[in-house]
């Protein structure tokens, strides 16, 4: 039964309603004459506080409030991939005019579209939640499995024959006392993680094609990582790069409280960029969720949950999903704003005391798992963090760093000098280095792990030498240390730096990453010998080969390119 009451107070986007006894915590409601969407965030006697997901201008005490009887849920069905949604999974592409009007409602997928369904199971067996019944080809890249919804179990009495069906048509029936019909469309409450069989240890890298990450601070499939950085340090570009090149099957990109034009950029580039593995436009594996900074704050809080639930759904089909959230700080700020309007007692910097646990349970939804149907799938989460004043000691950053297993700290000084991606190689961290080193050994080169250590070693030594140089000038250093500074410079310029906008440089497959590192380290070895033979560092630096090795990241595309340049280095 639907609860109906009325507004007694409006304060920003928080509305108090009276006469709503029976309404449930987190229940969705419609507020006011316009039917604005909201969610119950506190129940007190027969009153309730509602967080409205839309602007509340003009709302008056006395207007109606109606409970919808269910919590905030997403629609799970073929037709999601390739779409752009708002924070409540309302499609943005079907709205008339150029603005989003209040009280807007629309189905998340086209319910009139017919999909060609292929059954994969025959009736007469016992099934449980997660079991695959059949599939449709959602895009050229995504075979969308229709699964028995979690919680449903019994005898499979009917499976539809191959043919055209709409998402709400019945494609199977399960009998367990009563008959339950299954369509291609399910609903799932966004704040509840979708069930799995068990968690597994991640051991495969999520290849992103971004050198500083894959080679030095890698992420595993099913892992969680954060990218903290002040404005302009390159969070968004890095996330866009991941969305474009990562070897995940599905990408869910959540633009949470950031710029509208950044979503347009994705919409513009995704149909034109090809997935490095399949060669198909990455639009065919992407889902976008936009709650841009000018959209109502409350839906920002919901948007990350909508995103993660979609990622979990595709994981359940046995795929690797990647969920990117730019920026989780805006989500935390939305929590703070709602908490403030509810007059909760604030903890640090006005954030509610449950901030840490919310962040923890969000990143907990990442994982490499065995699905209910016995497949392997994963959800990887990468969240940007936008610390005010670039201060990494603020609450959202500190709590996030406690819960993620890798973090790439962006350094404003690197960004100022246009060293992008501005990942600080001294203070960034990944706990996946160890578990993934076997993969590199098997798939790329046995010497990779040693080279990785050598390279980091040069960079660490550089760091301590730089402190001397800063005070006394480079002239005080002996020649071999000056050469080490040059080697470090080659690593920075020729490996760590990576332009997102250069046709070749923007994506480097693992093997080429190895080549580039090999070229620099071998050049360094050769140079050391030349130094012993009497050459000066100045001579080495001004040799054309020095520049050619640094510029290899723009030019080396194949084994042949590598071998040709390697030959020159060996002869140097």
């Amino acid at each position: 039964m639907k609860v109906k009451g009325k507004i007694t107070e409006v304060k920003g986007t928080v509305v108090k309603a009276s006469n709503v006894s029976g309404i449930q915590m987190n229940e969705m409601v419609r507020v006011g004459e316009l039917g604005l969407v909201g969610e119950v965030v506190r129940v007190e006697g027969d009153s309730a506080y509602v967080q409205v997901y839309e602007f509340t201008t003009g709302l008056k005490p006395g207007e109606p409030v109606e409970g919808l009887g269910s919590p905030l849920s997403v629609t799970l069905a073929p037709g999601i991939v390739g779409n752009i949604y708002d924070g409540l999974q309302r499609p943005l592409s079907t709205i008339e005019g150029y603005s989003i009007f209040r009280g807007y409602t629309a189905e998340a997928v086209d319910v009139n579209k017919a999909w060609h369904f292929f059954p994969v199971i025959k009736p007469g067996v016992k099934v449980e939640g997660g079991e695959k019944i059949g599939y449709v080809e959602e895009t050229e890249l995504i075979r969308h499995y229709i699964m028995v919804p979690p919680g449903v179990k019994g005898n499979l009495t009917y499976v539809a024959p191959e043919g055209e069906y709409k998402v709400n048509d019945s494609v199977a029936e399960v009998q367990n006392g009563e008959k339950q019909s299954i369509s291609m469309l399910q609903k799932w409450s966004v704040r509840v993680p979708r069930p799995i069989k068990r968690r597994l240890v991640a051991s495969e890298p999520l290849i992103t094609g971004q050198r500083v990450i894959d080679a030095f601070f890698p992420l595993a499939k099913g892992g969680s990582a954060a990218v903290p950085g002040g404005f302009g340090t390159g969070k968004t570009v890095l996330l866009h790069q991941m969305a474009s090149w990562a070897n995940s099957r599905v990408v869910v990109y959540v633009g949470c409280g950031e710029r509208g034009n950044e979503m347009v950029e994705l919409l513009k580039t995704f149909p034109k960029l090809n997935d490095p593995i399949s060669g198909k436009p990455i639009m065919q594996k992407s889902i976008m969720i936009a709650n841009t900074s000018n959209m109502p704050v409350a839906a920002r809080e919901a948007s990350v949950y909508v995103g993660i639930t979609l990622a979990e759904y595709y994981r359940d089909m046995g795929y690797d999903s990647l969920m990117l959230a730019d920026s989780t700080s805006r989500w935390a700020e939305a929590l703070r704003e709602i908490s403030g309007r509810l007059e909760e007692i604030p903890a640090e910097e006005g954030y509610p005391s449950y901030l840490a646990s919310r962040i923890a349970s969000f990143y907990e939804r990442a994982g490499y798992v065995e699905t209910l149907s016995g497949d392997y799938g994963s959800v990887s989460i990468i969240g940007a963090v936008s610390p005010p004043g670039g201060d990494f000691t603020e609450p959202v950053t500190t709590h996030t760093l406690r819960y993620v297993k890798a973090f790439w700290l962006l350094d404003p000084n690197l960004a100022y000098s246009r060293h992008y991606p501005a990942v600080n190689w001294i203070s960034s961290y990944s706990s996946y280095v160890e578990p993934l080193s076997d993969w590199w050994g098997f798939n790329v080169s046995k010497e990779f792990e040693t080279m990785r250590r050598q390279a980091l070693d040069i960079l660490f030594k550089e760091e301590s030498l730089r402190n001397i140089v800063r005070l006394l000038g480079p002239e005080v250093l002996p020649e071999d240390e000056k050469l080490l500074l040059e080697a470090a410079n080659m690593l920075r310029e020729g490996f760590l730096k990576q332009s997102a906008y250069h046709e070749v440089d923007r994506y480097t497959p693992p093997l080429i990453q190895y080549y580039l590192l090999k070229l620099i380290l071998t050049f360094y070895e050769r140079a050391k010998e030349k130094l012993k033979g009497g050459a000066t560092v100045e001579e080495i630096r001004s040799s054309p080969l020095y520049l050619e090795v640094i510029r290899a990241r723009f030019n080396v595309k194949s084994k042949e390119d590598f071998e040709a340049l390697m030959k020159k280095v060996m002869e140097f």
Partner: protein, 463 residues
């Protein structure tokens, strides 16, 4: 509308806020008109409404108001601005009422000053280069139509001069001129006068609309001024098809007004007393820019803000830069060295530059040149600070070139007259000139191709 007019009484007054009795008749963010005994009228807007009372902010301030002596009328609508192209050439106060002695313009529409939520799906990606004629901007911080790019400045720095130069010189490839919407937010009258004069002298005044909330005007009104101005700007851009340049100065005054009201409401502050929603609030202003699919015009924002105590981590510049598409940071040091425009290029950024420049837009070598200038200038800054510590003798011969490069970059490339208008070719050729001070082995960002095509041209020119 008039049907909903109700009279009400005031319960209490505190700062610029009033608590009034409403009997539930006032909607959230709706307007009230407050009438004093002497007939004076003021406007207010509700911040919180309940069944019997509402909290209202009074735009013109509460000075001289006494609960017993005023009448409050509910207008039954949010704050609106009547719009039409009759706005052009006119001057209004910070709430959008004419102050140029002419009658209220006839509006074809009344628009809510909060604007509409632009659907990101309907945005068009901004990628049309704007030539400002200022080398450091065109060369390294290129602006595009529809971008929001603020100037971060400090007291005594020539931000007004630079904004005026951009407004005067900004041409777009096709030569279409900008319509200018100017919003003064708590600035001294002479700043507003300066812009007015500049617009007048360049003949742009008839294509301009001015909204003035001056330093002596009430602070609460500042919350509204940028929104009123952007309502006009959006109308001119997206309904009338103008390319609009909106100059908002000074957004720091806006932020301070917001803090003042938040404190009066006893809200929990976050950083430095500013409300937790400062980011969201600023975003509802700065995101009102861009281009829209299928519409002719564009709305480019050039907000100006002074950094309190020159601190870029202060919440107002910090959160602004998190929202805008880059920032132009002015430097006291350079200004004292006699460099105009004194732009701290390393701290500055134009996020939309990449799609607005290059072959077919400016020149094929533009991106590489700009990357190289950043790269080399940042190296030069390291050398310069080292030279300050160890003396020029202490730095290697090969690094001394960087000192020369930095001087040439600042004094030849960046420095120019406020009335000098350089085209993009001139700017890029100058870049090659200063870059040529460094040996080619330092050109890590320059491709062989660019060297071949452009360097020879430059070298020939300089012979």
């Amino acid at each position: 509308m008039s049907g909903s007019i109700t009279f009400s009484s005031v319960q209490s007054i505190r700062g610029s806020l009033m608590v009034i009795r409403t009997n539930g008749k006032l909607g959230y963010e709706e307007l009230v008109e407050i009438e004093l005994e002497n007939g004076e009228k003021r406007l207010g807007r509700s911040l919180q409404v309940s069944e019997d009372i509402a909290v209202v902010e009074v735009f013109e301030g509460t000075q001289g108001l006494s609960p017993r002596d005023v009448k409050v009328r509910f207008l039954g609508r949010p704050l609106e601005l009547p719009v039409s192209n009759e706005l052009l050439g006119r001057i209004f106060d910070g709430l959008g009422r004419p102050i140029d002695g002419m009658p209220e313009p006839v509006g074809v529409e009344e628009l809510d000053i909060n604007g509409k939520i632009l659907n990101p799906y309907k945005r068009e990606y901004p990628d049309e280069f704007i030539q400002t004629g200022v080398s450091v901007i065109d060369g390294m911080l290129s602006m595009v139509r529809g971008q929001k790019l603020p100037i971060f400045s400090g007291s005594g720095l020539p931000h007004d001069m630079l904004a005026a130069q951009i407004a005067r010189q900004a041409t777009i490839a096709k030569g279409e001129e900008f319509a200018v919407v100017f919003a003064a937010i708590g600035v001294p009258a002479d700043t507003a006068m300066f812009f007015r004069r500049e617009l007048e002298e360049s003949g742009a005044l008839k294509r301009s609309v001015l909204f003035l909330n001056l330093a002596e005007d009430p602070a609460v009104e500042r919350i509204v001024t940028p929104r009123v101005a952007l309502t006009a700007a959006e109308y001119l851009a997206f309904e009338e098809g103008y390319h609009v340049l909106a100059i908002l100065t000074d957004m720091t005054n806006y932020g301070e007004a917001l803090r003042e009201i938040s404190m009066m409401r006893e809200e929990v502050p976050s950083r430095r007393g500013y409300p937790g929603y400062l980011y969201t609030d600023l975003a509802t202003i700065f995101e009102r820019s861009g281009r829209i699919t299928g519409r002719k015009g564009s709305l480019t924002q050039l907000p100006i803000l002074s950094m309190p105590a020159d601190d870029i981590t202060h919440p107002i510049p910090d959160l602004t830069a998190y929202i805008t598409e880059g920032q132009i940071v002015l430097s006291k040091d350079l200004y004292h060295k006699g460099v105009y425009p004194p732009v701290n290029v390393l701290m500055s950024l134009s996020r939309l530059m990449k799609d607005g420049v290059g072959e077919g837009k400016t020149r094929a070598d533009h991106k590489e040149l700009s990357d190289q200038l950043y790269n080399s200038y940042s190296k030069a800054m390291d050398v310069r600070s080292l030279a300050e510590i160890v003396g020029e003798e202490g730095i290697p011969e090969s690094s001394k070139k960087y000192l020369q490069f930095a001087d040439a970059f600042e004094n030849k490339f960046m420095k120019q007259d406020p009335y000098e208008n350089r085209d993009i070719d001139t700017t890029l050729n100058l870049a090659w000139d200063v870059l040529s001070i460094l040996p080619e082995s330092a050109w890590t960002n320059i491709s062989e191709k660019s060297k071949k095509v452009y360097l020879s041209v430059v070298q020939k020119r300089s012979i």
